[in-house]
């Protein structure tokens, strides 16, 4: 297991600068504007260490916010929110007594762990809902809330089909994963995927990741992990209802609901047209009725 050959170009103990295009060393990707980037989170490699949660908070200076024992396995984070942009879910599937599972799955087995994150949807409902343009699609095809614009209208919050975005009571603005927009601009891999000890979280060009993920599913099936499937890749669960695909997608081994993911999420804006048309048709009908009532027995002026 060697390091990237370019690592030897910076062999001083005090490099005293950021290694240029460091992402190439950490994940083999040179980050360029105009390309699509995302995360492939392969739950079969996740050890539930929560390094992603910590690395994210450290980089983005997010405060700790959730001090309390939940009793939900080892998940004391609960959900994604304004101050939590990575969340590791823990699902125990062992069973007790006579129901105790005896068989082990070839990879992650009987204790599911999954690092959840903003999906950076290809058709992002939060972005489509945002009335200020605060949420926009960056030159890296990621979805970011621009903090100098957001006015805290909160409409992105219910728009998100994954419960990702949240308003912070501290500053009255919406927050979510930026896919480390600032780091991407500096050629650095996002903090969570860079830290991930087992490469459960992989960062890269989305199309490359899709290919890699499909290969991974095939290989897992070959190894007997027949439950493995992709969530959010094109034409898979999660990439439904007009969302097209998710730039941050997942490899799962149980039903999506188990991980608190909707099986077929939809693009909220798809409901604008039917609603608006029906509404306007209703108004037209009512207007006709009103016109009839109003004009009856009246002189036209």
């Amino acid at each position: 297991m060697g390091v990237h050959p370019r690592a030897l170009d910076y062999a001083e103990s005090f490099p005293n600068r950021v290694i240029p295009d460091e992402a190439e060393l950490t994940c083999g990707t040179r980050i360029e504007p105009g390309k699509s980037y995302g995360f492939f989170t392969d739950t079969t490699l996740c050890i539930g260490c929560k390094a992603c949660e910590v690395a994210c908070k450290e980089w983005n200076s997010l405060p700790a916010d959730n001090l309390g024992l939940t009793g939900h396995s080892y998940d004391n984070t609960g959900d994604l929110g304004a101050n939590t942009w990575r969340h590791v879910a823990f699902i125990e599937k062992i069973g007790a007594g006579d129901d105790r599972v005896q068989e082990m799955a070839p990879f992650q087995s009987n204790w599911l762990m999954m690092s959840d994150v903003c999906k950076h949807c290809a058709n992002a409902p939060c972005l489509e809902a945002c009335p200020t343009g605060s949420i926009f699609r960056t030159e890296f095809d990621t979805v970011v809330v621009q903090q100098d614009i957001c006015n805290g209208c909160g409409y992105c919050v219910p728009a998100c089909p994954f419960g990702v975005v949240e308003l912070s009571p501290a500053d009255g603005k919406a927050h979510k994963c930026t896919l480390c927009y600032d780091r991407l601009k500096g050629g650095l891999e996002p903090a969570c995927s860079k830290s991930c000890p087992t490469d459960s979280i992989q960062f890269g060009e989305v199309n490359e990741l899709f290919d890699r993920a499909r290969g991974r599913v095939e290989s897992l099936h070959g190894k007997g992990a027949t439950d493995a499937y992709l969530y959010g890749a094109p034409d898979t669960p999660g990439a439904t209802g007009g969302l097209k695909h998710l730039n941050a997608f997942f490899l799962l081994t149980d039903r999506p609901e188990v991980y608190n993911l909707p099986p077929e999420p939809t693009r909220a804006s798809a409901r604008v047209r039917p609603s608006l048309l029906t509404g306007l048709a209703t108004m037209a009908g009512l207007t006709l009725a009103a016109a009839a009532l109003m004009s009856a027995g009246r002189d036209r002026r």
């Binding site: 609960g78 879910a89 058709n123 409902p125 489509e128 809902a129 945002c130 009335p131 200020t132 343009g133 605060s134 699609r137 095809d141 614009i149 957001c150 006015n151 805290g152 209208c153 409409y155 919050v157 219910p158 089909p161 994954f162 419960g163 975005v165 949240e166 308003l167 009571p169 500053d171 009255g172 603005k173 027949t226 499937y229 992709l230 969530y231 149980d254 039903r255 609901e257 608190n260 099986p263 077929e264 939809t266 693009r267 909220a268 804006s269 798809a270 409901r271 604008v272 047209r273 608006l276 509404g279 306007l280 009512l286 009725a289 009103a290 016109a291 009532l293 004009s295 009246r298 036209r300």
Partner: protein
């Protein structure tokens, strides 16, 4: 289903993630619900006023006046409510930074702005136009301006009456998202019914009892429509499995008692009795109107509360997302830079 592999094809057995919410409830509280109510009422009032001005005769003058003033009042009350609900109030102006057809909040802001401007002009024209006739029988200039602006104002009023339903439906909140069409009809009919009721009350105070009959008739037609729309919405939600939060608990009670029984049952009964009787009862008309007005508000508040509650019930959301929801793909996709570049490439 496309591309689903084991175990995603296995039937969902109701399992959730520790019953934790899968989506987040909107941060909208009673203020936005009240805004939806006011927007609908004032928007529809503008429509009725315009119709009365266009189709009626001099006896409708109070309807026209009251409608225009109501529209302006709504347009003036709305923005403070909306701004008060922003978590960073000082940046309210960013609502006009961009326009997005995909966002009811965005085009709604423009509708509200347009409606405010046009309603302001109609109301101002009306105010300055005095009795509506110059000495020579011609329209005063101010009234002519009002009459010109009233048509776009009425169209924007139609928008005001229903875009708020799109605002709710275009979310992932199970209750709101699972019956977009019926809810739009519900909001629209309620807007028209409450506007008619408000104007009818106005006529009762100072106006023509005959106008009351007409307006009560309109209110009854709209309320009947709302009843049908509510039933369709309810049925749709039950099919999806998201109806519970509007049926159960305090919210369910307030919806059933406030919005349905009081808001629709009572006025329909009052207006029906009045319609059938030779000498309509003034009291029944007033009671019916007041009940409608109260019921409209109760309906908005209940729908908001129940919606937010449904967002916290992951089972509701998972039931809703077991299959694709109604509604076609939007015709115009929000453009995506990356596709553009890839096409160029």
């Amino acid at each position: 289903m496309r591309g689903f592999r084991e175990p995603a094809t296995r039937d969902w057995n109701g399992e959730t993630y520790y019953d934790l919410a899968s989506v987040k409830p909107s941060p909208f509280d009673w203020k936005i619900a009240a805004y939806v109510y006011i927007a609908g009422l004032s928007g529809s009032a503008q429509i009725i006023s315009t119709l009365a001005n266009t189709l009626g005769d001099g006896r409708d003058e109070t309807i026209v006046r009251n409608g225009r003033y109501l529209a302006l009042a709504g347009a003036l009350l709305g923005p403070p409510l909306l701004i008060a609900d922003l978590k960073t109030h000082k940046r309210f102006y960013n609502m006009l930074r961009i326009y997005r057809t995909s966002s009811p909040m965005s085009f709604g802001s423009y509708i509200l702005m347009g409606f405010g401007a046009t309603s302001g002009l109609t109301a101002l024209g009306h105010l300055l136009g005095g009795s509506g006739r110059e000495g020579d029988g011609s329209r005063p200039r101010a009234r002519r301006v009002a009459d010109m602006v009233q048509v776009p104002a009425a169209f924007l009023g139609a928008g005001m009456s229903t875009y708020t339903a799109a605002l709710l439906s275009a979310t992932s909140t199970p209750l709101w998202a699972s019956a977009p069409r019926a809810m739009a009809a519900q909001f629209g009919t309620s807007a028209m019914a409450t506007a008619a009721a408000a104007l009818s009350l106005g006529e009762q105070i100072s106006g023509d009892p005959e106008n009351c009959r007409r307006l009560d008739g309109l209110a009854a037609v709209a309320a009947a429509g709302e009843l049908v729309a509510s039933a369709i919405a309810e049925r749709g939600r039950r099919q999806v499995g998201t109806a519970d939060t509007l049926r159960e608990g305090a919210t369910g009670s307030s919806y059933k008692v406030g919005a349905l029984a009081l808001g629709l049952g009572v006025p329909l009964a009052c207006h029906a009795i009045n319609a059938l009787s030779k000498k309509p009862s003034r009291t029944l008309s007033v009671v019916g109107s007041l009940a409608l007005l109260a019921g409209g508000m109760a309906m908005r508040q209940a729908v908001f509360q129940a919606g937010n509650k449904s967002a916290e019930r992951s089972a509701d959301y998972f039931r809703m997302t077991q299959r694709s929801l109604e509604g076609p793909e939007p015709r115009r996709r929000v453009d995506r830079m990356v596709e553009d570049t890839s096409r160029r490439g």
